[in-house]
Amino acid sequence: MSTPARNISAVPEPAPAPRISDEEALNLYYWMVLTRATEERALNLYRQGKLPGSYYTGRGQEAISVGMAAPLRRGADGDWLSPWIRDLGSYLVHGVPVWRMFAQFMGKAGSTTRGKDGNLHIGGYEWNIPCQVSHMADMIPLTVGAALAYKQRGEDRVAVTSFGDGATSRGDFHEGLNIAAVLEVPAVFVAENNRWAYTTPISKQTKVTDLYKKALGYGIPAIEVDGNDVLAVYSAMSEAVAHCRAGRGPRFIECKTYRMAGHAAHDKYESYMPMELLAEWSDKDPLKRLEQALREERTIDEAKLEGIRTKVKDEVHEAVERADDDGFADPSEAHLGVFAEADTDA
């Protein structure tokens, strides 16, 4: 069963833990399996030297990336989603096709940035994903602005962004949260507290290691949830989004989790991360936990789960093939697109 979200702020009433149907739970399972399979495949490709640049995974954080995106409306007129680098699953759930993720990692023409940017710097109007930058916390003020536009136009859309614990030390986080609260915009901020920022442990990052308390300080209703429980994240997110749509201002969700690998694929994390901690968290693996809940609490047939896993395997296989077959953009494109052409509807 999902751990109910603990509501800390005095502002909203307690979350009425919504009943998640078996169908919804299986849908979350599909996305989580797809996320992990995509990342594992990409990591293999990276190790084989088939992906340029560096590679980051969100292993162990799939419950957050999937649970945060699942309650949102998709499409160009849907909700804004600006996920953090650990959140490959968010991109998939919000509509980005799997093969384009691989094309992105490979820098192919089919990448959402036509090879001009890499890794999870993915975006496009069709999904209402802005395309994150590397600079941590920069997307927080942007998300406030998107939410402001919705509010100004009286649309019941929501703008969502996620970020790591390290990002909460940057000015953009603090300015962004403060202005979001003052302007009362429909934005949901999702902090992924995986207790590490590269080699820096949370204890050296901040004295306020419960990150939701920072949001409370800005007057934003905030909760913490078990970030390794996708049903908990999904419930908390559904509730936060409903509040935003109802015009009740921003919300903040801290997901407590753990970074199950190095900062990036090239990072020798054994040199700084206590291995006991890693072992402890490996028992809390979000995918294992969801499988257990599906089998034991919801008595879902193993064959059904196996069917999902097989489907995902095929999907990932096809996606890699398609990305492999894709070409690179013409080198002349390196010089194009710095400026947008004049607006015709002005």
């Binding site: 804004w80 959402t112 940035t113 001009k116 940017d117 710097h121 975006g123 496009g124 109007y125 802005p130 395309c131 930058v133 600079h135 920069d138 997307m139 927080i140 003020p141 942007l142 998300t143 406030v144 602005g145 998107a146 939410a147 402001l148 536009a149 919705y150 509010k151 100004q152 703008a159 000015g171 953009d172 300015e175 962004g176 403060n178 202005i179 003052v182 302007l183 697109g337 710095v338 400026f339 947008a340 052409e341 004049a342 607006d343 002005a346």
Partner: protein, 325 residues
């Protein structure tokens, strides 16, 4: 046609565009109830309401970033830095996010950042700067530096309609001091088209912003002294900038002074001088001369600030030196 101050012209442009285009909104510190530190947006909140004229917290980063997000969602935000000096706090949002967005993913960021800039009234090191050079170095940002009321209005209209991030530098010293004719109606001025402020045949001064008037004073003195005929080219915008107009003027006069109020090293004048050296070497009769502020912060006390800002006398001395070739 009416005579207006530079400040009125900016204000009129903003107001007319807000009436014409519902997507335009303003955000900044003290711009609403109070009408802004320089009163450019006085009365705007009464006319357009609090949702379109937003008094924001003191947060240059958040203001600029929020404009980018709102622009991506179809709005046409115009934000005000209370003084252009404070854009340093928004540098990252402009350079990292807004400037690179269209190149990376093809989605335009039509924002305008209004920047009251420039010295001349003891604003000191933090209320007098001309930080356009930093941004001219960054691909993806457009930059306007109007000198006349007609351009102040025409360029703010174009800036708002441009699908790219635009930094609009409005020189504080011109706000109420400079009056001029502003044509009625929709008078958008195209970016990248220089204006011949005055025609001449012996020497060209390439400049923009408040230095147009410094050049004018020096040119007048030179003409009175010995009949030297100086051509003044007002660039109006420095990204993009009008290479053709500059090269045409240099071809005509074969002597050139590049003049700006920003500091010297890596200032935009260096780009102009280098381009002239590359493209017009054969037509030159004298070295390209740069006249700029020195490489120091802007000092506070009147005599020190006067020593810092390029004066008409400095420009006149430059004209005399080049005349010797």
């Amino acid at each position: 046609m009416a005579i207006k101050t530079y400040l009125q012209a900016i204000s009129d442009g903003l107001r007319e565009e807000m009436r014409r285009d519902q997507r335009v909104f303003l955000i900044g510190e003290d711009i609403g109830v109070y009408g802004g530190a320089f009163k450019v947006t006085q009365g705007f909140q009464q006319e357009f309401g609090e949702d379109r004229v937003i008094d924001s917290p003191l947060s240059e980063t958040a203001i600029t970033g929020a404009c980018t997000g709102a622009a991506l969602m179809g709005m046409r935000p115009v934000c005000e830095m209370q003084f252009s000096d404070f854009v340093s706090c928004a540098f990252d949002q402009l350079v990292t996010v807004a400037a690179k967005q269209h190149y990376r993913v093809g989605t335009p960021v039509p924002i305008v950042v209004r920047l009251p800039s420039g010295g001349g009234f003891s604003g000191g090191p933090f209320h007098s700067q001309n930080p356009e050079g930093f941004f001219a170095h960054c691909p993806g940002l457009k930059i306007a530096c109007p000198a006349t009321p007609a351009d102040a209005k025409g360029l703010i209209l174009s800036a708002i309609r441009d699908p790219n991030p635009v930094l609009y530098f409005e020189h504080k010293h011109l706000y109420r001091r400079i009056k001029g004719e502003v044509p009625d109606g929709d008078t958008a001025v195209e970016f990248g088209k220089a204006r011949v402020h005055q025609e001449g045949s012996d020497l060209s001064i390439i400049t923009y912003g408040a230095m147009v008037y410094t050049a004018e004073e020096a040119a007048k003195a030179a003409a009175e002294q010995d009949g030297t005929s100086v051509e003044i080219i007002d660039l109006r915008t420095i990204t993009p900038w009008d290479r053709e107009a500059v090269l045409a003027s240099v071809a005509k006069t074969s002597k050139v002074i590049v003049l700006h109020e920003d500091t010297h090293t890596s200032g935009f004048g260096a780009e102009i001088a280098a381009t002239i050296a590359e493209e017009a070497f054969e037509t030159l009769d004298a070295p390209v001369m740069r006249i700029t502020a020195p490489d120091t912060p802007v000092p506070f006390s009147p005599p020190l600030e006067k020593a810092y800002l390029p004066q008409p006398g400095d420009v006149l001395a430059g004209i005399e030196r080049l005349a010797a070739y």
